[in-house]
Each structure stands twice: as structure tokens, then as C-alpha cells.
Amino acid sequence: MPAASRPIYNTLFRKNFVFLGVVFASAFAFEMTYDNAMDKLWDRFNKGRQWKDIRAKYVKTEEDEE
């Protein structure tokens, strides 16, 4: 094994329950980042089409009237 990867192996993969824990923890972290990234991508696909893009127009006029 290359010397650089030995500490990674020893800390993350050597013990099975540590490995499992790392897998589940990274699943949570991955889900959050993935959802974020996909939402960003989705918003770029649909720029100007969604309600949040045009919402400001209508909310502001309401406040001006008040």
C-alpha cells in the first residue's frame, strides 16, 4: 500500500464498524450536499420560470400600496 493512503485506510476502513459508521455518516452528508447541488442545477435550468423568480414583483407592489 502506498504510504500516503495508509492513514486513510487505518482510520476509516480498518475496523468494520468504523467503516459502517463512515458509510452512514457520509450518506447523510452526501444527501444534503446532493440535494443542494441538484436544486441549484434545477434553478439554473428553469431560470425565470419558477414562482420564486417572479414572486418579488407581486409582493413588492402589495407593500407599496400599504
Partner: protein, 236 residues
């Protein structure tokens, strides 16, 4: 022709014959790598398989890593672990979606809140509002009534509760109007304690909705409510 009942016996007979002496094909396998006398520059694992197809297997030893079995262990665990993590994330999302299904649907949630305009309720008046099919009493209490409700000795009550724990603003008393005895709707501004009186079995509630006399075991229930604006009450 052998009948069916004879088959097990013939198999028993055949088994030791197969196992004990070295069967020809298996012994031949070990020699396959020695036959690597191909002249081509391409080192095919299938070389030398021309003559006897039954006794030859390809030689994959060239594909083996030269650095030993542990050389790319980190990479291997990384790939397996990534697959596990992705699967776990997917499974979590799936389970989550099923659980979300069980929560109240949008039309139920839309009916679950009731807005009440408080400016239309004068002091010392009761208003009954339907909320999730149940009546809710809203009373605009006068200063005297508040004082009266606060001065009651809590220890003497059947269901001891301070008045300040039952209201968010002392002048507004909001309660579910269902008698805690058998579920009748009590009558407002009646009874011996200036509060509510249940006509079914004669339970008397005071001006804070606490049970004082009669068969009911508990005080009138308080729903969750809030005052988002000064003159606005949202129940639910």
C-alpha cells in the same frame, strides 16, 4: 432400463469413483500455464487452448497486480463504501417519502387553522367557533373576571391549574367547548361559579374553565392558539 428407485443407488456408486482418483481434466489444469509457448507479442490468456478444450483454462496471471494484494485496498474500500453510502441515502429518501405520506394532507392542514377577528368581540362576551368539528369558546374577559379567576385558591381545585397557565393574554380565554365528563357542550355565562354549566350532568366550570362542581374530572381543554397580530387569533 433402470427404474426410478434405482437411481439413488447408482449415484451413490458413481460418487466415490468421481472423487477419489484424480480426474483427468483437473490434473491437466495445472499444466496450462506451462504451455505458454506462443510467439505472438500479444499475451492472450486464451493461448494454448487449441487441442483439448476440456482440460485447458486461460491463464490470467498477467493481469494480477505486481504490487501485492493490498496495493489498492483504499480504492477498493472507497468504491464499495461509496456504493453503500449512495444506497443508504436512496433508502433513507424512500423511507422518508413513505413516512411523509402518513402525515396530514394539504386539504386537512388547510382546514386545521381558524382565524378569528377579535375586534368584533366586545368585552364580557362569548363567541363559539367551529374548529375541526368541535366548538371553541372564546371569551373576552373583563378585569373583574380576570381578578376573580386569579384569586381562586388553586390547591382546593379538583384539577389544580393556575389561571395564568391557561391563558396567553389574560383578557382572552380560549378553550375547547367540550365537557370533560361525557362530551356535551357546556352553556356559557351559567352555573354557580360565573363560568360555564354543562346541562347534561350538571358540571360547573368557573370563569377560567376549571371544573368546580359536578361529575367532570378535568378542566376544559385548551387548544393550541396564537396571536399573530393584535386583533387576530389563530386557533390550530
Amino acid at each position: 432400463m433402470a427404474s426410478l428407485s434405482q437411481i439413488p443407488r447408482t449415484m451413490l456408486c458413481a460418487l466415490p469413483r468421481r472423487v477419489s482418483p484424480a480426474a483427468l481434466p483437473i490434473r491437466a489444469l495445472s499444466t496450462s500455464s506451462k504451455r505458454s509457448d506462443a510467439t505472438s507479442s500479444f499475451d492472450s490468456p486464451f493461448r494454448g487452448m487449441g487441442n483439448d478444450k476440456a482440460s485447458n483454462i486461460p491463464d490470467f496471471s498477467n493481469y494480477r497486480s505486481k504490487q501485492g494484494t493490498k496495493s489498492n485496498l483504499v480504492f477498493q474500500y472507497f468504491m464499495v463504501g461509496t456504493m453503500g453510502a449512495l444506497t443508504a441515502a436512496g433508502a433513507k429518501a424512500t423511507v422518508n417519502d413513505f413516512l411523509v405520506n402518513m402525515s396530514a394532507s394539504a386539504d386537512v392542514l388547510a382546514m386545521a387553522k381558524v382565524e378569528v377577528d377579535l375586534s368584533t368581540i366586545p368585552e364580557g362576551k362569548n363567541v363559539i367557533i367551529k374548529w375541526r368539528g368541535k366548538p371553541v369558546f372564546v371569551r373576552h374577559r373583563t378585569a373583574d373576571e380576570i381578578k376573580q379567576a386569579e384569586n381562586v385558591k388553586v390547591e382546593t381545585l379538583r384539577d389544580p391549574e393556575k389561571d395564568e397557565d391557561r391563558v396567553k393574554k389574560p383578557e382572552w380565554l380560549v378553550m375547547v367547548g367540550v365537557c370533560t365528563h361525557l362530551g356535551c357542550v357546556p352553556i356559557g355565562e351559567a352555573g354557580d361559579y360565573g363560568g360555564w354549566f354543562c346541562p347534561c350532568h350538571g358540571s360547573h366550570y368557573d370563569i377560567s374553565g376549571r371544573i368546580r362542581r359536578g361529575p367532570a374530572p378535568l378542566n376544559l381543554e385548551i387548544p393550541t392558539y396564537e396571536f399573530p397580530e393584535d386583533e387576530m387569533l389563530v386557533i390550530g
